[in-house]
């Protein structure tokens, strides 16, 4: 249990997707103009990360990894399909996003109304593929750990985008030097937020 809490806290604060690895920056910069839309996108990312990472975990451990297919027969023990992981992961992500979109539309039109436009965007958000690739690299030992990691990373991304959106809403009233306006100042503020988040690095878990 304590391991799970550690992974959760670590993936939100210490290994924050945006501030430590710059993942999902494109949509982070493009959709952070107002708090309302950024909350929508943030929830969609939590949702999709929480679903795709466990699925990709199963894929990795029962099909792709070296020797992973030995549950089928002993002959497959030496098969290593890990070079296929990029294409498999992205296919899973694209189809899951499509599926999630359809399910949400059917069962919760209200949620669909607020997430709707963001869901297709997410298929090409690097935070999602990055989550799966980190899951592969860090070799989590159980599917529960992988799921917790996925949810934690999603929440970390959510915090980052809502934070920057709130700052950008306020900064509209400030007198920023012309050439820095818009993109430039957003980069620098993100850098400062990153420095603030780095203080979490001292936490030993």
């Amino acid at each position: 249990m304590q391991d799970l809490v550690n992974i959760f806290i670590k993936s939100i604060f210490i290994d924050n997707m945006v501030f430590a690895y710059f993942l999902g920056m494109c949509s982070y910069l493009a959709v952070s103009k107002t708090v309302k839309t950024s909350i929508g996108l943030g929830f969609a990312v939590i949702f999709v990360l929480g679903i795709t990472i466990p699925i990709n975990y199963l894929l990795e451990n029962f099909i792709l990894k070296q020797g992973a297919m030995s549950w089928l027969s002993e002959d497959f023990a030496s098969v290593d399909l890990s070079f296929l992981s990029f294409i498999m992961f992205i296919a899973v992500i694209a189809s899951m996003v499509q599926l999630v979109e359809m399910i949400v539309e059917k069962f919760s039109p209200a949620l669909y109304g607020s997430l709707g436009i963001f869901l297709p965007l997410i298929a090409v958000n690097c935070a999602i593929l990055g989550g799966s690739l980190f899951m592969q690299e860090r070799a989590y030992t159980s599917i529960v750990e992988a799921t917790v990691f996925g949810l934690g990373s999603g929440i970390g991304w959510f915090l980052a985008i809502v934070g920057i959106a709130a700052i950008r809403e306020k900064i509209r009233y400030s007198n920023v030097p012309g050439p820095l306006r818009g993109l430039g100042i957003t980069f620098i503020i993100t850098g400062l937020m990153g420095i603030a988040f780095m203080s979490f690095m001292g936490i030993k878990l």
Partner: protein, 215 residues
């Protein structure tokens, strides 16, 4: 399209390469492909390897999608594009693992993330789907160079100021600046400073080119 009797390097075609270098830079103006531009710029070597990988993937993917553009039904074009890109990225990844294993370890997940690098998707969507292969190839080259020089510039400053080296060669030490009391700015190595460096590049670029300033 009047490209049949157009010279291979006509003015319009040359513009496809030179535009993305500055005025229409993919990183600083179109805001595409930021993720990888920031994460692997601690040192020059991985930054150059990354720039070359993106160059290979982007130009080939642009040509392939441009060749297929009349065959792809527009409803499933995203999936088709992703498959083309993913296949090329797997090739690049295998080549990197075979020839420069240490750099490939350093880049870790970011080679795979070329798949979702929005420069590539963005150029495929915006350009390759509507233009002839040769133009698409030039556009790919131009954007990859535009991406590459930002990457290399950021990495240059971060490695020089942060670690005092260039390509691992101790420049500052050889110049004897440490004896004069110079210290490395360890902060430049930390991730947030990449953002600030790009922010400053944007600042300089827009101060020179006032048309780009956002209102």
């Amino acid at each position: 399209m009047s490209s049949k009797n157009e010279a291979l390097f006509s003015k319009k075609n040359r513009k496809l390469i030179t535009d993305p270098l500055n005025d229409n830079n993919p990183v600083t103006t179109q805001v595409l492909g930021i993720c990888s531009a920031l994460a692997i710029t601690v040192q020059l070597k991985p930054a150059i390897v990354m720039a070359l990988s993106v160059l290979a993937v982007l130009s080939v993917a642009n040509v392939l999608v441009s060749l297929l553009r009349n065959l792809i039904p527009s409803r499933i074009r995203i999936i088709v594009q992703l498959v083309v890109i993913a296949a090329l990225v797997i090739l690049v990844d295998q080549v990197l693992k075979a020839f420069v294993y240490d750099v490939s370890k350093e880049l870790s997940v970011f080679v795979g993330l070329i798949i979702t690098n929005c420069i590539i998707m963005g150029r495929l969507e915006a350009f390759a789907l509507g233009n002839t292969p040769w133009k698409a190839f030039l556009d790919g080259l131009g954007n990859a160079f535009g991406y590459g020089w930002i990457l290399i510039a950021v990495a240059f400053f971060r490695e020089l100021l942060g670690a005092g080296t260039l390509f691992g060669y101790p420049v500052i030490e050889k110049m004897g600046l440490y004896d004069l009391g110079y210290e490395n700015n360890g902060m430049m190595i930390l991730p947030p400073m990449a953002l600030v460096t790009v922010g400053i590049i944007i600042w300089v670029q827009r101060a020179k080119n006032r048309d780009l300033i956002e209102s």
